[in-house]
Symmetry: C2
Subunit: 158 residues, 2 copies
């Protein structure tokens, strides 16, 4: 019994109220922390990296107390880790669970890679169409039509 409890604890740290971001792509946990601005967050946070996953080989997980994410943040997460699952917790119970969806369009959350793009030179928010090519995301700029590839995504913080 003792050893069963110990083993269970290996995978689970419950939070009372807040959000669990599960099934984060391997190697992306710290990037998700960064794009959500959690580095300076002051309530409890748990992270797990390189955990075994039935679905994806290895995965990461983030549990944030007393924080619930809105559409912009969910889209940020989807752009970094399209496999992620969002689980909202109230009083230790799951009240909502859904997979992030890569949006068709994103506005104002990623920078355009083209230094000459109007969005890098005037106070105009970026606007992209999202393409998935060979399992990798590419953003096509509404203004300059240049593509920004997944490995070059630079996020404006929320």
């Amino acid at each position: 019994m003792e050893s069963n409890i110990k083993r269970k604890e290996l995978n689970v740290s419950a939070i009372e109220n807040g959000t669990v971001i599960d099934h984060i792509s391997q190697g992306k946990v710290l990037q998700v922390v960064k794009i959500l601005g959690l580095e300076s967050f002051e309530d409890q946070i748990y992270l797990g990296a390189n955990l075994e996953s039935k679905k994806f080989g290895k995965k990461g997980i983030i549990k944030v107390s007393n924080r619930f994410f809105q559409e912009d943040d969910i889209n940020r997460i989807a752009l970094v880790s399209p496999t992620a699952t969002i689980i909202e917790i109230r009083d230790y119970d799951i009240i909502k669970k859904f997979n992030v969806q890569v949006p068709e369009k994103v506005a104002g959350i990623v920078k355009c890679i083209n230094p000459k793009c109007v969005t890098n030179n005037q106070k105009i928010p970026t606007k992209f169409e999202v393409y998935t090519i060979d399992d990798r995301l590419r953003l096509k700029c509404h203004y300059c039509e240049k593509f920004t590839n997944q490995e070059n995504f630079e996020f404006n913080q929320g």
Copy 2:
């Protein structure tokens, strides 16, 4: 009973073999991850930040599977978080537990803040005496005698 187990899981994620770094100073968890080179580590890691601590108000904790730290890394941790405790785990049991000690001298792990220092211009490892002034660490360079303050520590990675 169910709710007791849930609450216990809030604070504990056991690892089978590896090291727990407990009582990390508030706000320093991600810096400890960085100085230990854990960003690219491939075994299981758990982090907790902003956790309640009986001793220090709030604290962080890091649990790293299958990794045991040597003197240089322990000194790095001590320079970032002098309050940290190191706990070594084998087969879920604690085999060693100790507080980090701020060393009297450190060699080769922090850069000298003085751009003209010989250590920044030739391949000479840095060497410092450690001072604690008003609860803050300062390193006095053996070569140029300039002080590098805690908030300016820049670590060479292990």
